[in-house]
Symmetry: C2
Subunit: 606 residues, 2 copies
């Protein structure tokens, strides 16, 4: 916990002083420590924007802008990169990290140790480490940190009650880094205070939130706002009272509006008590059904936060149609840096190529904010796997400018994190990371099928683990075919898309291979574009994925990594290979037993 | 916890005094309270045996015998039964209950509340409730109570160390009921005391046990002995040191011998890290492989405790071949009253018919002792489901005399437990209980297949939950067939049986239907004796089982049960029906998807 690692900022020499209160002060302190004699021109109106003179001698920007400029100047120098010219402005004003930290110190879906902020039912953190985290976040332009789990459990509701003085103290630390705090709230919180309902149209409820929010902003005047998960996975919400989600969100937003706060409302709403026998209800359709018709009905300071795909952070999903259906609503796209379904920060999985694909289908301007579930924890290296930090780093850059290429973001991370590594090795590492998602995808669930993961833990294979369960995530494999028909002839999910994407997905022939089993039910003998049958493609992908995982180890062993990172990475690599082997053999056995098809290359099927 | 229920002893009027120290005193106190003026003739040499004069005016027996005689006299009178004539002697000298209670108060596989003995890492019990339990146990002749889990976790090892004074206090309570305590020990316990090994042939290890056991018997002179789970499911054991289990058990037995204690050694040893790809290793063969060759090598005071079947308390297993293979060894058969795989004391499951079948194949004289995993807990009614008490009751009677019929034991329990119930209703209840295992068997895993249960929790269906796991429990279902060939052509498991049973099991035709899939791999179109195909039989059984569960509810609703029992039983009945429906539909869907076979009666398959 007290280990000092600067991750992609290894050029930092020492801790920052405790008495910094503004980002501009921090900028000065950092530049001084780095021995860079740049002049800061503070232009308050510029806000987060910044520019650096060609020779790097002047940084011009708003209060936060100069800090961002300073970090980018330092990073450009460390990486030997040219500085960008002209005024740099973030694409989105809110670039958020959502921590799923519980007050008891546990992190929901956390794979890098205990909570950074809490332990034993109360605040418990190392202020020096908070400042270190502030540096990391500010260096890549992340400006909102939601510190507690969206599943708010006792006593986390106290964050906006008697824990406000402590919340204010933490906010003081991050303020110097341009990072505003956010808190997840319990939608039913008024009920804890003698109000017999949480009906958003009940005056007592609205009034409670108005009064309570006044107290919150008296303590933390620049709080970014509230994050809410309502009517989702057994959380309370407006549906309990026969209200829609606009009514629920607007009520809260109106309590925040006078203080400049936003209300971030997660659109992760679906029936989590589905009967597996029910083939009509199709979970990926749920968010669109619950929200699209409400477009235009949300207050200005409401942000609907929508997961990138319609399911739940699977390795491969099409873009969520909800993101394409609400032009009159402020939307945030939500990614998950925590590798819940993507290897638990044991398996290597660099996400930028996936974000890129989503954006290619969505367009950056469909959303007005961006959020990501944190992969941070109390581990010395913050992210469990030393390479998992690349996702936090790149997320910040991508949130600032979604036109950043995956190659550049990953290469920059490598160069900054391992400044002593030779260029050839660095290129190898970049290649390994760039390809890591493709490898993981191959040895896990095939061709967009999703959810073949071990129940509950979500690491390792469990082809049938969700098949007869209540989560609405079925593949319905049988002896002839696999997948759900989501065309107009099936559940109709494809109709939620605008014409171009609809046309792409609506026939097996037009649908790209990697999503074929997301949209279509196909026979095992279905012939893919390259002439292979579906079943042979499943076998081939899995065998290839496993082979590639093994090859990654050989690559890793030859990389000149610092010894600590090397140990951590190799120890995890062995677990990844074991995982890849299990996935490969089990998924192949699963389909072999159904289909009876032998492998064309005579490899062993169990 | 303080609720007073007398279960099958409702005729008891009040608590017993605290100052009773011998079973004979208890016998007098009970008779007095019951207003029965019977004379007690104490004949010390008779030990546990007893006889009652025809008119019930005299009970003759040993110290414990008179207590047993007194209870049987009271129960016979309450039930309106004739008294047995002649001297009654138990078939087995040790009639044991194994509690899987942990020091933290949790009960492993416990479905009736917290531990009776422990809470929060220490002893914590209500002495009055202990006396009540003593009455229940003594009334059915159970004479050994092992109070802690065979998986001994810190701090339970302290039971034979600094907790000895408290162990002695508890022993004092039960002594008045003829119940001797036993404790589960940690095979590696000497390692906690500076000895660098637990090698049974190391003199320091043997000496440590000798010394420690002296201290134990100084505190509890009539302790029954130690119970050990070694080299099993990650417990330490002799294999760690290259020794066999005779060497391990004898070392401990020699520490106990001078004090008259026995060493009960559980034979639940198998490879719990099996690779699911490995089709050669066959878990049911493990106990025989580990123990049969050691027959004759165990000391006289060693008891090998062998589960009734070769797997692990599944609904239907053949008798364990180990029980038939060790004539020169003292054996105990182990049943499980806790309904781990048989409905968690939610579903109704009366076990006597199953014991009867096992004994029919084994013969009562193959074993010299009997044990059962407890179904007891801190719940008001001790066993969660009020009907689950029938298993504890009947177990005691069966352990005393395995010739008792299931019908009689169950009918007697009904009559004693519900003395006010009319004869017709009682007959209905007896029928419901007698048939309950058959119903449960039908809606769960078919035809001896086993292990289609939800992973970990062991309640509800999970057809593939253990299929790709490390526990050695595979069905290997595919599109054509299901089951493991355990004949001489397959794993050879059937060869572990003596000729008669071998002949019965070795061909699909000779093998009884209910075990066909335990011994054979069969195609779905295999034609059973009654002309139905295997797949149709699977469908039929499951649909019937579900229908029968629903019918049980109707029966239950019409029974004139006391209101508390009625509420508890009906609340559980609804859960049982839900469970039966899930089992039925999921197992049928599972096989339908593999086989493609439609139901001959057109019922819905998913």
């Amino acid at each position: 916990m007290n280990e000092k690692r600067h991750l992609w900022l290894p050029f930092l020499k020492s801790d920052l002083p405790e008495n910094l209160t503004t980002p501009a002060q921090t900028a000065r302190a950092e530049l001084e420590q780095a021995g860079i004699a740049a002049k800061l021109n503070l232009v308050t109106d510029m806000g987060e924007s910044w520019s650096v003179s060609k020779d790097g001698s002047e940084i011009t920007g708003g209060e936060t802008g100069v800090l961002y400029g300073a970090y980018r100047l330092m990073m450009a120098r460390a990486a030997g990169e040219a500085l960008p010219t002209g005024v740099q402005t973030p694409r989105y004003p809110l670039r958020m990290i959502n921590c799923w930290d519980n007050a008891d110190g546990d992190v929901e879906r956390g794979y890098s140790g205990r909570s950074l902020f809490f332990e034993g039912g109360k605040f418990d953190y190392d202020p020096a480490r908070m400042r270190q985290l502030g540096r990391l976040l500010a260096s890549v332009g992340i400006n909102v940190l939601c510190i507690n789990n969206v599943n708010v459990r006792d006593p986390a509701h106290r964050l906006i009650e008697d824990w406000l003085p402590e919340l204010a103290k933490l906010a003081d630390i991050f303020r110097a880094f341009g990072v505003r705090l956010m808190v997840s709230i319990d939608y039913a919180q008024p009920i804890r205070h003698g109000i017999p309902t949480a009906d958003p149209l009940d005056e007592r409820v609205a009034q409670w939130w108005i009064e309570q929010t006044k107290k919150v902003y008296a303590a933390v005047p620049d709080l970014a706002g509230y994050l809410v998960k309502a009517d989702s996975e057994s959380r309370p919400g407006p549906f309990t009272y026969g209200r829609n989600h606009a009514e629920g969100a607007n009520m809260l937003a109106r309590a925040l509006a006078p203080h400049g706060g936003v209300l971030v409302w997660r659109c992760f709403v679906y029936n989590c008590q589905q009967d597996w026998r029910d083939a009509k209800t199709d979970r990926p359709m749920a968010a669109y059904q619950h929200y699209a018709y409400l477009d235009g009905q949300f207050d200005k300071n409401v942000i609907l936060q929508v997961k990138n795909g319609p399911y739940d952070f699977q390795v491969r999903e099409p873009v969520s149609p909800t993101l394409l259906a609400m032009p009159k609503t402020t939307l945030a796209i939500e990614f998950q840096l925590a590798q819940e379904y993507t290897g638990h920060q044991i398996d290597i999985y660099a996400m930028p190529p996936m974000w890129r694909e989503v954006y290619a289908d969505m367009g950056a301007d469909r959303v007005q904010a961006i959020a990501a579930v944190s992969n941070l924890g109390r581990d010395g290296n913050y992210t469990g796997h030393p390479f998992a930090a690349v996702n936090l780093f790149a997320y910040g850059l991508f949130a600032w400018n979604p036109d950043e290429t995956p190659e550049h973001m990953i290469a920059l991370w490598c160069r900054l994190t391992y400044p002593d590594m030779d260029a050839a090795s660095r290129e190898t590492l970049v290649g390994l990371l760039m390809n890591s998602r493709a490898v993981y995808e191959k040895y896990t669930a095939p061709l967009g099928l999703c959810w073949m993961v071990a129940r509950g833990v979500h690491y390792g294979p469990g082809p049938d683990d969700y098949e007869y369960d209540r989560w609405g995530t079925y593949h319905r494999a049988d002896r002839d075919a696999v997948g759900i028909d989501r065309t107009a002839n099936g559940t109709g999910y494809v109709l939620q898309y605008p014409p171009e994407l609809r046309a792409r997905y609506e026939t097996p022939e037009s649908c790209p291979d990697e999503l074929k089993l997301f949209f279509h039910r196909l026979r095992y003998d279905y012939v893919m574009a390259d002439g292979r049958t579906l079943i042979q493609r499943i076998y081939d992908d899995h065998f290839e994925g496993y082979e590639q995982a093994k090859a990654m180890k050989a690559t890793l062993e030859n990389l000149p990594l610092p010894s600590r990172d090397r140990e951590e990475a190799l120890e995890r690599m062995d677990r990844q290979i074991k995982n890849a082997r299990e996935w490969c053999d089990i998924v192949n056995a699963f389909f072999h037993r159904f289909s009876g098809a032998e492998d064309a290359h005579g490899r062993t099927l169990y």
